[in-house]
Symmetry: D2
Subunit: 344 residues, 4 copies
Amino acid sequence: MIKASIIGATGYTGVELVRLLLSHPKVKIAALSSVSFLGKPISEVYPSLLSACQMELCDEKEAVEKGDVVFACLPHGMSQEIAAECAAKNKAFIDLGADFRLEKEEDYMQWYKGAFLDKELHKKAVYGLPELFRDSIKKTKIVANPGCYPTSIALALYPALSKGIISTEGIVIDSKSGVTGAGRTPTLNTHFPECNESVSPYKVGTHRHTPEIEQTLSKAAGAPVKVTFVPHLLPVNRGILSTCYAKLKEGAGEEKVREIYEEFYKNEPFVRVLPKDTQAGIKNVKFSNFCDISLNIDSRTGTFIAVSALDNMVKGAAGQAVQNMNILFCFDETAGLTLIPPAF
Amino acid sequence: MIKASIIGATGYTGVELVRLLLSHPKVKIAALSSVSFLGKPISEVYPSLLSACQMELCDEKEAVEKGDVVFACLPHGMSQEIAAECAAKNKAFIDLGADFRLEKEEDYMQWYKGAFLDKELHKKAVYGLPELFRDSIKKTKIVANPGCYPTSIALALYPALSKGIISTEGIVIDSKSGVTGAGRTPTLNTHFPECNESVSPYKVGTHRHTPEIEQTLSKAAGAPVKVTFVPHLLPVNRGILSTCYAKLKEGAGEEKVREIYEEFYKNEPFVRVLPKDTQAGIKNVKFSNFCDISLNIDSRTGTFIAVSALDNMVKGAAGQAVQNMNILFCFDETAGLTLIPPAF
Amino acid sequence: MIKASIIGATGYTGVELVRLLLSHPKVKIAALSSVSFLGKPISEVYPSLLSACQMELCDEKEAVEKGDVVFACLPHGMSQEIAAECAAKNKAFIDLGADFRLEKEEDYMQWYKGAFLDKELHKKAVYGLPELFRDSIKKTKIVANPGCYPTSIALALYPALSKGIISTEGIVIDSKSGVTGAGRTPTLNTHFPECNESVSPYKVGTHRHTPEIEQTLSKAAGAPVKVTFVPHLLPVNRGILSTCYAKLKEGAGEEKVREIYEEFYKNEPFVRVLPKDTQAGIKNVKFSNFCDISLNIDSRTGTFIAVSALDNMVKGAAGQAVQNMNILFCFDETAGLTLIPPAF
Amino acid sequence: MIKASIIGATGYTGVELVRLLLSHPKVKIAALSSVSFLGKPISEVYPSLLSACQMELCDEKEAVEKGDVVFACLPHGMSQEIAAECAAKNKAFIDLGADFRLEKEEDYMQWYKGAFLDKELHKKAVYGLPELFRDSIKKTKIVANPGCYPTSIALALYPALSKGIISTEGIVIDSKSGVTGAGRTPTLNTHFPECNESVSPYKVGTHRHTPEIEQTLSKAAGAPVKVTFVPHLLPVNRGILSTCYAKLKEGAGEEKVREIYEEFYKNEPFVRVLPKDTQAGIKNVKFSNFCDISLNIDSRTGTFIAVSALDNMVKGAAGQAVQNMNILFCFDETAGLTLIPPAF
């Protein structure tokens, strides 16, 4: 049994991680930290945890001290110093924030207005999308857990780009996310009567996940890829659906495409390439670590349409973090993640 | 005061039309027909209408007989004979179904598997999108009321295509619709626990509204336009949001685009081109005849993104039908349609 | 045409009142005030109002000055001085807050921790539930617009209590309300992921509407009535459903009860006593000024169960305020309120 | 490892049971039967199960044959013969339907219009509410799994009634249920646009769970108890909230009440008596086998108000069935049920 600490345990990704780790066969939660609720039992903040976890919330320092692995669930800009401390103490560090996701400092500066405090540390960090970068993850102790949108998009487009069957130009990604993606702090946009019974786009072409998406897709293509990315807010609690459009190159028909995807993911426990004539939907992946992908070709316009669905809080955040931890500690990659999505 | 009849009054578009006509200053409802509920008061089928409208449901023949204007709210394939009868009796006919929307019989055959029973009649029919084809509507007595998706898409892209600032190739349209778009018949897909807390695409690249969309956009461009169109089912009652992506031609910047749209719609009471930095959302148009359009340019990728929102049951169906009726009878075009969308 | 001002126009009840007054045939909105958004057009705060109302938000003083009738949509404790000013200037004043609803100052002190600043003023105020107190409303210029829960409950139980067919002891009221009842300020409880897909009671036995409910029911019974009142928060935007339980006295059967209610409300345009074997539901009254009441008798236990449904923002707030205004100014009581609830 | 079969596996309670049993450490699913989908893999009926369970649906006979324990998830009236067959073969039988819940045949006749086919068999059946009847369950092989409403109500009121602190007269129960309670067959009432954004009561005073509720409460009181029971349909997928009102007897104050409940449930892993000043809500129990109970006293009216929340599909159906199976087979009672409710 290893000991795990969560920094920022009372945010939505933090508490979801608590839930997952409580059921993990190889992990004991050692500490949960929170600035706002310091000293309170977490079950007072989340009554859903009553009788399941009543651990008192500690400070960040104690959390780092007590964990063999430290998860940070913090707003961007707050993880770099903790990562350095963990590195100094040779602890595994998994960052659910954005600080280590971008490889180029200029991208981080442009999109996040921040700097890399310790460039060497950033070089050690690995982008933790296991299905694509498992081997590198095994060799690091600092994992940058991917964003929710980027996970759904990378899994949907990586096989096609890496096999060169779609054009790298003109990719359009229309994503839809549940409200938990915005976190727990109440705002006007997430006030029930303001988002219920509605849907609208936000940060059109300017969302901070854009460089992260392009970084991975460029690796897939072996050439720079730019995408048009538009996220939308859905009136559901959980889940992301990404509808990804790309120009299909000549010669690539439906069977070929399907073959490529099925081959690419054939050993992946968490990616389900859906059967022909079925479509990915949030309903089928909720509360699980699955990412469903449905493949479509609009032969009238020569367009490849990959649709991916995942739970933004699980495969898009806490579940993927557990998956990364499993890799770091050589556990079975599905340990603690054998969650079956409820039918409703 | 004119007399209006509704055939198929107990479907969702039919009952919405009842609601609108009951408040129309120049119209008296003369007859409501229904096959399933013949002889019952409509308020028994829809208790929301109690004390507002308790008219007994009659048969189709009586409905045609009694109306100066006849609205048909029927599944496709059932309007052609009624239209012929109305034409013979010189009554105005407004079809909320699909039978008269496509100008080319081969398109109708390909997408709807049906034939034009009377080709002359089809020549007389006009596609009733007032903002684009008002002058032709004035001259007909047979109006093909547009589909909900096509209305949202045509209004979003017509100005840009007609001014030649976007490419006619590679247009992608990602639409999201509320569940009322599927009608009142219970199905597994629209069963509450199956669609609540989820979203998924359907009829990817194969939705019957596609040829109707392309017909209008081709007119705008003065050249054939093909689009990739993917509709999605949203867990909301009403509303459509269409996010439309097109390649911006060189030289067309944000100000130019905005100028074109504001000029195009400056006298239109029902189209609101939104201010810079705001986005169209279903919330702001629900229960009204407005179509909101927000304009975006992703300069990183040279993509024009027009987002349109409307109420699928009002501007996307019954409201537009009333607007067409107002045109046919030379009423003020906003008569009975001065509906202000509630804030929530 | 009279001139109306709204103080606190950017809260939920305020903006709903704006929407209703914009369609009122005898009213012109003269001024809208707001502290938070002073100087901005209201359509910037509520984009739903674009092109329908772009009036600039002024201060309270200007609002009082300009109106023949002044509506206050303010938190409790803030209306008394405005009422005094309106009285001094002989303007009609309609308070959508709680300051003038309770007749006894000790009740106000106990439940609201406040005092009556001017006892004479309070004596002039009339509790504005038109179906019960129309004659008194006609004679005042200060109307205390009832709370949303109290309206639904008073209309459900007044006839039975006034006719003496139910016991005044042991009345239980289980009410359920949509989230707009909590106002527009974002809070954790009204944050989308916290209230969506859930329901729970709040302020059990301690809600401030309790004395207001008891005040009206005591008048009905001609004797003191105490009730057990438990409100619940529902994951819907609008609407209140109150399920009211009372011991049926001997001799009062179903037909008698129905007769009493139908007689009591026979001339009321906004109260619909539903047919036997149908039940009140929020769906059928949303966006309208109707209050639906269904009558049930559980003969196994001798219990009378009246269920009432209304839109908390219309008959429970802004619509009833307009109804009161219509009475004060001798307009047709339904003017501006002929809203037909949409079927969905 | 024991072998479990589910008859009627494709209904909502059936598939939820599949989900739970797939994670159970001591159980292997041996067979799943379905009439409608015979021969298909269950993952075709529920794509959420892809890669988790692709078992082919068999017929009832095969299911009985293969299981050490047989669960029946069938409409009432269809379990008696299967129970007899299981009894003959000495297999454990757990009925999620209503056939064995009522002890008196006259009650079954009155409320379900059915007869007890084999009276001896009925005598062997035990009502499977473990917190109340654990000892009897241990001794049977036929378990009548309680209804969802009755579970929530029995747990809320049993302690108070058995300790005699509330009156057995005048009990009022106002319950609210999610839509999955109505099953998977599409109907008008459960069609998304018909139940979304609404709430209404149904089967007022006539719901078939009434005699089952009274049977248990009468045992608690040691005297006949009749209740007024009104269920309501909520626009949520899962969950039941029951607000239970009873006259508090003299001398029983808040502390006493709390003491009784905490004592009563102190060793129960699935019942959480909530801390003072917090309220039960569906959110905190969803997807878990917990039943939360909050205790309130309205001292103004002398009313005890117990509010209970549970997941209708888990503690109200499939979870409780697993709990009963655990008891029958002497497994740890929480095996396969250590589900932590997600925070959102």
